[in-house]
């Protein structure tokens, strides 16, 4: 039993107040943790540059319409960064936090749980922006950046990031072991990467494969961001595709939110 005379005074009945500084500190901590994760750093910062190196060396010419191959590939590499961050990075981070008990520790903190999710989004957007700026900087120095409609390009790539994050959050909340989430995430990544035109142009696919890959959530992102990068106007069917993607993202986030909430009913 405790000896009260040895113990320092701690108030009883009047708990400390919650501080709003916590969200900023949470973002700082998540940023530091991201920077210390070698795999996350490689796939976000290095992998896009490796892709650029291969594309830049292999495709130096232009297509029949006179568009440089490098200008076709830059938006696709940017889309790849988004898929990497969301489908692999977010899913694995959430699954790891859930399995190791880190999420439970955050649940006990005197802050709303959405602070944790928001910090993930803020750090993800920040890392995406840094990676994209580095990529565009190098492209600009070596080849020259085209980027004819920067606002549209930014909006479409951010939508791509949102879709990837939503898929990542959903995957991360599946009641499966971390290893299974890693395998599932890698599978989804390659389907989205290869089947969206980010690796190979979908125009080169046979009709049946082009039809199937049209429902790949990243297909309209890759098509629309390429159009925005090259200064083409978006076709109506692409605008509809992007609209449906917004709805799809909202639905995924809601499903993930409910799955996360169900954790309480275990």
């Amino acid at each position: 039993m405790r000896d009260a005379t040895l113990a320092p005074a701690a108030p009883v009945g009047v708990p400390a107040r919650r501080s709003p500084r916590g969200l900023g500190q949470l973002c700082r901590t998540e940023t530091v943790l991201f920077l210390r994760e070698p795999a996350a750093m490689f796939f976000t910062m290095v992998f896009p540059l490796v892709l650029l190196l291969f594309v830049g060396v292999a495709y130096t010419g232009s297509d029949d319409s006179g568009t440089r191959y490098i200008d076709l590939y830059v938006p696709q590499i940017v889309a790849t960064i988004a898929v990497n961050l969301g489908v692999l990075g977010v899913a694995i981070n959430i699954a790891e936090c859930r399995e190791s008990g880190v999420l439970r520790r955050y649940r006990l903190a005197p802050v709303p749980m959405w602070w944790f999710w928001l910090s993930q989004v803020i750090v993800g957007v920040m890392m995406f922006a840094v990676s994209a700026v580095i990529l565009l900087g190098i492209v600009s120095a070596v080849y020259g950046v085209r980027l004819d409609h920067p606002v549209s390009f930014a909006a479409v790539t951010l939508l791509g990031l949102a879709v990837s994050f939503a898929i990542g959050v959903l995957l991360g909340n599946l009641r499966m072991p971390l290893r299974s989430i890693q395998i599932a995430g890698t599978g989804v990544f390659f389907v989205m990467f290869l089947g969206s035109g980010a690796a190979l142009p979908r125009d080169a696919f046979p009709d049946w494969l082009r039809l199937i890959t049209a429902v790949n959530p990243m297909s309209p992102i890759v098509d629309a961001s390429t159009d925005a990068y090259l200064g083409r106007s978006l076709s109506p069917h692409l605008v509809v595709g992007l609209g449906l993607l917004v709805v799809f993202t909202v639905v995924l986030v809601e499903v993930a939110r409910r799955m996360s909430h169900r954790e309480l009913d275990r």
């Binding site: 113990a7 009883v12 708990p15 400390a16 107040r17 530091v32 520790r105 006990l108 005197p110 802050v111």
Partner: protein, 311 residues
């Protein structure tokens, strides 16, 4: 005394299995309360329902006047908890973890002072994954106490720790809590519970089967004295003739006989007399040499009340 934690008629069940069946408990200001029970009795579920990280089917939980149904972030200001299964990111440094969790409060404990008190000042830049088991427990305990909560919930905080680390953890807890802080401790360590706790709740098969100070519980159950002797099939019959005998349990051919105050005095002598008669009859004089007598403790109460025996 003011009740800091009030749990009323808490119920939780899963398909085909009731985990908590109308559990009620109180923890008052300055009390350290032990929660004991066999594996699967519902201790962790009870703590998690109290902490708000598991939803109860019905019942109510109030800590320091704030009900669990309030906004969870506000409710979580009322207590600090050390979970059985929780962790921190392996690449997070000790100092960073302290700064992160301190930022959640307006007036947290001073980090340098707290690191000093938990003896982790030297490890300030060490990553969580590199800490020893005892250091991890001390750190997570300190994080639970950063906001100086009126209530502390501990789920098997010393399990797996060596005796040194165990003592250090209790030392930290004593240094970081005042005589007014209420503590609810779920544990499998009966000696720790008996030594540290003012009162005990025994949870078994989803219900509270006993609660009160250990000495009173032992007295009420007639478990004051324990006599240990080699078991024979006729032992119960002999013991029933000994004044004050209340209960027995048999583990691996050893018979543990318990009795109340009346059993304490001449019971051993009376038992020897009875056994001498039976021993002569059955030719087992070595029985007498195997008798030892001592006080019963919480572990005995636990084993009798929960119907479990040592493996």
């Amino acid at each position: 005394m003011t009740a800091v934690l009030v749990v009323d008629d808490l119920r939780k069940s899963y398909p085909g299995r009731t985990v908590l069946d109308g559990v009620t408990l109180r923890v008052h200001e300055g009390e350290t309360i032990g929660l004991v029970g066999p594996n699967g009795a519902g201790k962790t579920t009870l703590l998690e329902c109290v902490e708000g990280i598991r939803r109860a089917d019905s019942g109510s939980v109030t800590i320091a006047g704030v009900t669990a149904s309030a906004a969870s972030a506000v409710f979580h200001l009322t207590f600090g908890a050390q979970l059985q299964e929780s962790s921190l990111p392996n690449r997070l440094r000790v100092g960073e973890a302290m700064r992160l969790f301190a930022a959640f409060y307006d007036e947290p404990w001073d980090i340098d002072d707290l690191l000093e008190r938990i003896d982790l000042r030297e490890q300030r830049r060490t990553m969580y994954g590199k800490l020893s088991g005892g250091q991890k427990r001390r750190l997570t305990l300190a994080l639970a106490l950063l906001g100086r909560p009126p209530m502390v919930l501990l789920d098997e905080p010393t399990t797996g720790l060596d005796p040194h680390a165990r003592l250090e953890l209790w030392g930290v807890l004593e240094r970081l809590t005042s005589g007014r802080t209420a503590i609810l401790l779920a544990t499998h360590d009966m000696h720790e519970a008996q030594e540290r706790c003012d009162r005990i709740y025994v949870l078994d098969q989803a219900r509270m089967v006993a609660d009160g100070p250990v000495s009173r519980l032992l007295d009420e159950a007639g478990l004051v004295t324990k006599i240990r002797l080699p078991h024979r099939p006729w032992m119960d019959e002999v013991l029933r003739a000994v004044p004050g005998w209340t209960a027995s349990r048999v583990v691996a051919a050893t018979h543990y006989a318990y009795g109340g105050a009346a059993f304490a005095g001449d019971a051993a002598a009376a038992l020897r007399q009875h056994l001498t008669a039976r021993s002569d009859e059955h030719g087992t004089p070595q029985l007498l040499a195997g008798i030892t007598t001592g006080p019963a403790d919480l572990e005995d109460l636990y084993l009798i009340r929960t119907g479990r025996q040592y493996a």
